[in-house]
């Protein structure tokens, strides 16, 4: 990183939400409505501070804020440092910007909930953790945020904790994330052991200079450990199972945490450690395989879901796969690009879904929706725009980023998987087609046709529609605005993320772009026709191949598989260790020793009759015995 540090005041960015969390909880206990206002204000203040800093951030520089030394012991020195470089700036903008909108939205969405002071406190605490994650100047501070967002996710998924299934979903999220975190920790240990620091500014030259005689195997090992962490947080195979369950949380939470920000933390971390990953081509190949598999599996699962939030959840998993594909190709700026555009349109989709759920009185099943375009026009239009965006139709934002991902994959220069990349590309394009298909399906089932439910749907109030409109506009034009067409190029801005993998840049005509978005157009068109005109067709398809449809609607049986091969055996083992090993064997030996002493004592007791004559006889007999023993024998 040939960049120079400028010291600046960064801590308020993270501090505002922390303070907001405390105030929202304490004051919100007295007056519930204050919580939302405080939390939104804190988030907005944080956003303004980010804007102020980003505005002032010169090219090829970064801001630095050294707060205090956190851990200092022998060679292990960890500073509590915040840094804002271009990458952090982009992430901060997304986190605080989208975060503020979602806070605003939540004030209306949660306005009837008795525990909303807790809700807003958790939400602000999440903002705090997420900002620590993106502002942290070393892996350790990042890790604080990393675990912190996991905690907030746990708390918010189980927000309606009276439902034990929701609470269990929260626990599942935390535990699965912890598995990833364990890998992450091992990566940190390896780096600490062999390089001696986790500070990004110190780490990058140490790794890239090649002075560290560590070898590719080391890079691969560290990269894979870190990627395990990313898999947990960003819901990739095999650790993605928590995300669909995480939809138990209130919908704004799904929008903020499980779509726009937290789940992209893994991508951010890969980009942040990109200098390491580009030196580990084998690890990148693993990332690609995992990403493509995840994208495909999640997209096909989304095809058969009826719960509107589950569709979006699987779609998120799938899109995260797309982000990791870009990272795997070494095009980290593209991954971040997709993070940004995805944050726009997926947050909009989730908020739209929330608006629908809110309007339909907590109905989530799309089979009981339909025809909502009349009742909820704003929600319908914004949702529709976002569907086009995620489908990758030119000129919506999703097109720009997805096209960039495909471009990056076409320039795959990694020796591993070189001969497979053609087939992988076909699979990726097919997945992109599926994305368009299932998203259009959800749109049609929700908003078109006749209303099939029994509630009285109504449009949501302004605090909910304004964020929808803003996000829809961003989702529509954000991609174009960031891709250089309007004078600002994210690629140029994030030039520091270009670790020798210069992607070709080519401008294309509108016609070419329209042709390039054929997968999306095909998916949208096909789904539209199938679900509005030929309503029998989807059912026929599913009946045609019963095992396949069963597999898809069963979500590939991942949960059942994990239950059968991991969770239940471990539970059995735990019970076995306790009952048989601990109580039976180990404590059995302890108590057995005691019982042995007891039993021998009991045996000796028989001789103690209390009869004097008996004792005298024994005394005499013993004397005689010893006399004979010594003198006669």
């Amino acid at each position: 990183m040939n960049q120079a540090a400028i010291s600046a005041t960064i801590w308020p960015i993270a501090f505002f939400p922390l303070l907001g969390a405390l105030l929202a909880y304490v004051l919100g206990r007295k007056e519930r409505d204050w919580a939302g206002i405080i939390a939104t204000a804190a988030s907005a203040l944080s956003f303004l501070w980010v804007v102020k800093l980003v505005w002032a951030l010169p090219e090829a520089h970064y801001f630095e804020d050294q707060l205090f030394q956190w851990i200092s012991l022998a060679d292990l020195k960890v500073d509590f440092t915040f840094r804002v470089d271009q990458l952090s700036a982009v992430m901060c903008m997304v986190v605080t910007g989208v975060g503020t909108l979602i806070h605003l939205y939540s004030t209306a969405y949660m306005h009837e909930d008795e525990g909303r002071h807790r809700f807003f406190a958790y939400l602000n605490l999440f903002m705090f953790s997420m900002l620590l994650l993106v502002l942290g100047g070393n892996l350790m501070v990042l890790f604080i945020g990393w675990e912190g967002v996991g905690l907030c996710s746990y708390l918010l998924i189980g927000f309606w904790f009276k439902n034990l299934a929701y609470a269990a979903a929260g626990r599942k999220a935390f535990v699965v994330n912890r598995i990833g975190d364990a890998g992450f920790l091992l990566g940190i240990f390896l780096l600490l052991h062999l390089v001696g620091t986790t500070d990004f500014v110190a780490l990058q030259p140490a790794i890239m200079s090649g002075n560290v005689a560590l070898g590719t195997d080391f890079y691969t090992l560290v990269a894979l450990c870190l990627f395990v962490g990313a898999c947990g947080k960003s819901a990739q195979i095999p650790l993605f199972v928590w995300l669909p369950d995480a939809m138990a949380g209130p919908t704004p939470v799904s929008a903020l945490i499980h779509a726009a920000t937290m789940v992209t933390a893994g991508v951010y971390m890969l980009a942040r450690m990109g200098f390491l990953f580009v030196l580990a081509p084998a690890a990148l190949a693993v990332v690609l395989v995992v990403a493509v598999a995840t994208a495909f599996v999640a997209a096909t699962t989304a095809l058969t879901q009826y719960d509107i939030k589950k569709v979006l959840a699987y779609s998120t998993v799938s899109q995260l796969g797309f982000m990791f594909m870009a990272a795997a190709a070494g095009a980290f700026w593209v991954a971040i690009f997709h993070v940004v555009t995805h944050a726009f349109f997926k947050a909009c989709l989730f908020l739209g879904a929330g608006s629908v759920i809110h309007g339909c009185h907590h109905e989530q099943d799309m089979r009981h929706m339909g025809g909502l375009y009349k009742k909820m026009p704003i929600t319908c239009i914004t949702y529709g725009v976002s569907v086009l965006a995620i489908a990758g139709i030119f000129f919506f934002s999703g097109y720009q980023s997805k096209h960039a991902i495909l471009g990056a994959l076409e320039h795959w220069h990694n020796p591993h998987l070189k001969e497979w990349i053609e087939y992988i590309l076909i699979l990726v394009k097919f997945t992109a087609f599926l994305t368009a298909f299932y998203m259009t399906r959800s749109f049609v089932m929700t908003f078109l046709g006749e209303y099939r439910g029994h509630a009285h749907p109504h449009e949501s109030p302004w605090p909910m529609t304004v964020p929808l409109i803003v996000l829809a506009v961003l989702g529509a034009f954000g991609g174009l605005a960031l891709s250089g067409s309007l004078g600002f190029s994210l690629e140029h801005y994030l030039a520091a993320l270009n670790f020798g993998a210069a992607a070709e840049h080519h401008h294309e005509s509108i016609a070419a772009a329209l042709i390039n978005s054929w997968t999306g157009l095909l998916g949208v068109g096909l789904a539209f026709v199938m679900y509005t005109q030929l309503k029998e067709l989807p059912g026929m398809f599913l009946r045609l191949v019963p095992p396949l449809s069963k597999l898809l609607s069963g979500k590939y049986y991942f949960d059942e598989l994990y239950g059968a091969i991991i969770v239940r055996p471990l539970e059995g083992l735990a019970a076995f260790l306790w009952k048989v090993v601990d109580q039976g064997m180990i404590d059995g030996m302890v108590n057995g020793t005691a019982a042995f002493v007891d039993a021998t004592g009991e045996l000796r007791r028989i001789t103690q009759t209390g009869q004097l004559r008996y004792y005298a006889l024994m005394l005499f007999g013993a004397t005689v015995f010893f006399i004979i023993f010594y003198y006669v024998l």
């Binding site: 205090f68 022998a74 292990l76 675990e147 904790f161 940190i188 390896l190 052991h193 539970e571 601990d582």
Partner: protein, 547 residues
């Protein structure tokens, strides 16, 4: 350093307090039926002790790596036994932990209803014994304090405990004594061997730690005797089965002291005695100790997961956490050893707090079955919040104290024992599993037991009990520097001294005893004589042949 015997006053103040509880008629059951005066007096005694121990921290010079506040008085000169106490960075924090936890335990004694005077007197005697163990620098003194810890704890469990209290108390005492008797034999053997070589009887730790007359074989046996005593106390897997029974039956305060301080005595003994005295054997035992520690981490977590009794779950989680501490220490580098000490403090705070929380529930509902609870978060939000914070501290979430300890241990151990550490990292995941399962089953869901619907939230007094613990969880998690700064020089020096001694012992083949040395000298004489005669004979033969 002042002439005032600060350390001794801290050690014996609680003991004096306990005696006064019985001497003053005002504390008798007739004059003080509500036991108000008894509680207040014990509170004052423990608070004064705590304040005095803060003076220790204030006067402690972290750069001085030797023992500080040393008092050395001849006690039983004919046996070389001295009253020798002192403090270094390692014992400083354990002393502080002890004195810090005691007022909290006294405050939590309100749930004890019968024979309050006896209970609090036992606690005070126990405190003196623990503090004495931590500062003793004479093996004999150490052993006396070590055994003195047992008696009050025996009564605390056996008199104020639950249904199976007699069984638990007897198991606790017999198991621990079994180990420490072996240690006593070890101590005598060591002193005897020292006498054989130097002709002086001494129990002084500093002299014995410079003794170089042991063969490796002897070191191994002695280390095994010491280590067994300490491993039982920690407890290291598979010597842990007394712990769940003792914890479940002990009253709340007893559990807090047991988990908070007494378990640390095992590891402290390993640090203070076993490693410096027998460095070569320690090296040989390292893989076994590390293996047992790691098994303890995973095994404790797994068994904790299967528990149906809250207290038993927390007890098994102690086995798991102490496994980390042992691993960190035996990995034997500055980072991991400091992490090990730090984690002992953390464990004292978070597990102590968890036992107090269980006590709060038990006082209200008189059951510890997990299945009896559920949905409490809606009914008792402050309790749920406290429970959450200490749960998170227990599973080592960053910015709580637990993370610093666990991270230092694992990061440090990874450099020395990577294989063991990778397994131990699995404990990080399992810890989240059992603690969050416990939290979910007790706090979340609907309130299904009618009795839970009438639960009251934590009272003001209970809140005061938890407040200092809560504050420390965050202080030690966010700003560990003052603690680590005071620990670092001591630990660096400690490790350097032990390793230098190990090298020294390895390089110089030590004389077994004076006797052996004389024998060897005699052997050499004989052989040299025969050599001489042989050469003379050779010379003669040569002469003859010439002639």
């Amino acid at each position: 350093m002042s002439e005032f015997p600060l350390l001794s006053s801290i050690v014996f103040l609680p003991l004096v307090g306990a005696i006064l509880l019985y001497l003053f008629p005002g504390f008798g059951p007739r004059q003080d039926p509500e036991s108000r005066a008894v509680r207040a007096f014990s509170m004052v005694v423990t608070l004064i002790t705590f304040v005095l121990s803060l003076l220790l921290w204030g006067g402690f010079n972290p750069q001085n790596t030797g023992y500080q506040f040393v008092e050395n008085k001849i006690w039983l000169p004919s046996f070389g036994i001295t009253y020798h106490v002192g403090l270094d960075g390692i014992s400083l924090f354990l002393v502080l932990l002890t004195t810090f936890l005691m007022p909290i335990v006294v405050l939590a004694s309100n749930s004890v209803e019968k024979k309050v005077r006896g209970y609090l007197a036992s606690m005070l005697v126990l405190q003196s014994a623990m503090l004495g163990t931590l500062v003793a620098l004479d093996m004999f003194l150490f052993y006396i304090f070590w055994e003195l810890m047992l008696a009050p704890m025996y009564f605390i469990i056996g008199v104020w405990g639950g249904k199976r209290r007699i069984y638990a108390a007897l198991k606790f005492v017999l198991y621990t004594v079994f180990g420490s008797v072996l240690m006593l034999v070890g101590i005598f053997y060591l002193v005897w061997a020292y006498y054989q070589q130097h002709g002086v009887v001494t129990f002084g730790l500093e002299s014995l730690a410079r003794f170089n007359g042991l063969s490796v074989q002897e070191e191994v046996w002695l280390f095994a005797a010491f280590a067994l005593a300490f491993c039982i106390k920690v407890p290291v897997f598979p010597f842990h089965t007394w712990l769940p029974d003792a914890h479940v039956e002990a009253p709340t305060g007893g559990s807090v002291v047991l988990a908070g301080v007494m378990l640390k005595m095992g590891l402290y003994g390993l640090i203070r005695l076993a490693y410096p005295l027998f460095p070569r054997a320690a090296e040989l035992f390292t893989p076994y100790l590390a293996g047992l520690a790691v098994i303890g981490v995973v095994y404790g977590a797994m068994v904790a997961w299967a528990q149906k009794d809250i207290k038993k779950l927390v007890a098994y989680s102690s086995v798991s956490h102490l496994g980390y501490c042992v691993l960190g220490f035996v990995a034997f580098n500055t980072v991991s050893a400091a992490g090990s000490i730090y984690q002992m403090l953390n464990h004292g705070i978070s597990t102590g707090a968890l036992f107090l929380l269980v006590g709060v529930l038990y006082d209200r509902r008189h059951t510890r079955e997990i299945s009896e609870y559920g949905g409490l978060a809606a009914r008792v939000p402050i309790f749920a919040f406290l429970f959450l914070v200490f749960t998170l501290s227990s599973i080592a979430l960053p910015l709580t104290n637990g993370f610093i300890g666990e991270f230092l241990i694992l990061a440090g151990s990874f450099q020395e024992l990577p294989g063991f550490t990778i397994v131990a990292v699995a404990g990080v995941v399992l810890g989240a599993v059992y603690m969050l399962t416990l939290y979910m089953k007790t706090m979340y869901g609907e309130i299904d037991e009618a009795k839970n619907g009438a639960l009251t939230d934590v009272s003001m007094r209970e809140l005061v009990t938890f407040a200092p613990l809560l504050a420390l969880v965050f202080i030690m998690g966010i700003y560990p520097k003052p603690f680590l700064n005071a620990l670092e020089p001591t630990i660096k020096n400690y490790i350097r001294v032990v390793e230098e001694r190990r090298q020294m012992l390895k390089s110089s083949a030590p004389m077994r005893t004076r006797q052996v040395a004389e024998d060897q000298a005699a052997d050499e004489k004989i052989s040299s004589v025969s050599d001489k005669s042989k050469t003379a004979l050779d010379a003669l033969i040569v002469k003859r042949s010439k002639v």
